[in-house]
Amino acid sequence: MDFYIGLLQVIGVHSLLGLSAWCVLHTGQVSLAQGGFFAIGAYGAGMLTTMLGWPLGWALLMAAVLAGGIAVAVGFPALRVKGLMLVVATTAFAEIVRLVFFNLSWKVQTPEGLIGPDGGLGFGGIRYFQANAWSNLHVLWLIWGLVAVVMALLWSLDRTRIGTLWRAVGEDEVAAQSAGINLTAAKVSAFGIGGAIAGLAGGLFSHNTTHIEHGNFTILLATFAIAYPILGGLKSLAGTLVAVVFIQGVLIEGLRFLGDWRSLLFGALILLVMLVRPTGVLGAPLRLPFVGRRDEPTSSAIPVERTHHA
């Protein structure tokens, strides 16, 4: 039973991570910085509860605000570029964050002993849940409660003016700009909200695992973050959730009986999904790969190049 609760907790945290990437992808930007914001949230919330003794709620809020604020600050210079350049810029940012935490050693004396990030050894002893006698089930409720809140917020946001602006920028930047939409505001707001959600997810992650280290926050994590919405399909929020359940539940846990072969199959299955459903699982009608596909690419050869070729 504990195993399934743990799995559901992981799925919840990764859903939040996927939703954070969804915001940014919605404006047509591919960002690999989500892992960096996740790391900021994880370390930030962990340091607040263990080293300063803050209650969890405030620590999570602070983690979200901090990650969101940094996202806005980074977003202004980074979002001047797009496509491949943005992928590389955000990769560089995520690597800087990871390496800063890799080099950060700062321990303080608390009633439980010396505690704090310890460079390459990681940051252990984030035992807020254990210290306050939260059961696994309580943690599960907290995580999924927050997932529900974030999904509800994004769902309603998608139906307001902001969501329309984001989608307009995502569909065609030039058209959106000529319609008088402020591109920078749209992109930076999506980046900031995405960063805040990633920070929240990171805070939950560090308290759930109790030990974090820089190796948790590599480019691989950021790749997973953008893989969820892309595999699920950008049209719906539910797609992200489906993709997280598929990847974390089926591919990573469900195929454990395959042993070593599982991780081989993992990459192959991502490839397969992209071949069968290039716009995501819930994206478009089913199309067969290898059949009648040569008609599509010609449209991309028309000189009116899409501005966001990544």
């Binding site: 590389v88 560089a92 080099n103 480019i219 892309i230 990459g267 991502i270 596909r293 690419p297």
Partner: protein, 294 residues
Amino acid sequence: MSWIDLLDLLQSVFDGVMFGTTYALIGIGFTLIFGVMHKINLSYAAASIGAAYLSLLVVQIVPTPLVYLCAALLGGVLGALVYLVCFRFLPLNQPLATLMSTVGMLLLLEEAIVHATAGMPQNYPAVFAGVVFDIGPFMVRGDLLFVFALGCLAMVGLKLMLEKTRLGLATRAVAQQSVAAQLCGMSVSNTNATTFVIAGFLGGTAGAMTGAAIGVLSPLLTLPMTVKGLVVTVIGGLGSIPGAIIAGLVVGGVENLFQFLRGVSERDIYVMLMLFAFLVFRPGGLFAAPGGRD
């Protein structure tokens, strides 16, 4: 800083620049593929390391230089495979689809390497491994010099191929204006495939050079090589081959400079900050490709 320290610093920068040829080759591969397809192939560095791994199969049978040649050829084969699986049958007007398929390929290649070698680093042969040349107060490692020479050779070969052959002409034509190239009777998809094979040759060479310079191959190399290759591509300017070469050497040098000054765990922070500085002050890179007509 004393005189001896300054010599050490120059020595490590010099070593870094020589190793930078591998970054330059990976960067050229990214840039070539971006040039013709306007797509990014994230599995490229993994395929390059994978080609070097595959060349270990013949290491017992043939002399070391032929192992490198094998790595290059296998890189070409892997390049064709990546094109076939990740690009040929995907709708190219969906930028995210090929991004994701190459990520899948990256994970697949990495895991295949881990699976085949049980995750153990493998020794890779080097030429002139024990040889050291003394130039004044500096010393030059023979194996690193060979790697540098091999990298330069690959770049010269690429330049000749692009400028003197019909294939190179087609590649450049498709990169400049794919519709016009198509109207002139060139097959865009064939040219794309050939570009992947050529980039694969370079990648295989780079993988072999990495193995020769470090002495071992490890699946842990794939992600850092991917990141460094992308950094080089952007600093050099997207689609610019001379830019990628210079940026590769600069990144190699800067990396070793900060490794000397600040230690190995911090060096990449400064490389990434340098990239950020480029994005803010010179977003087009060192040599931005001429303004797009399309």
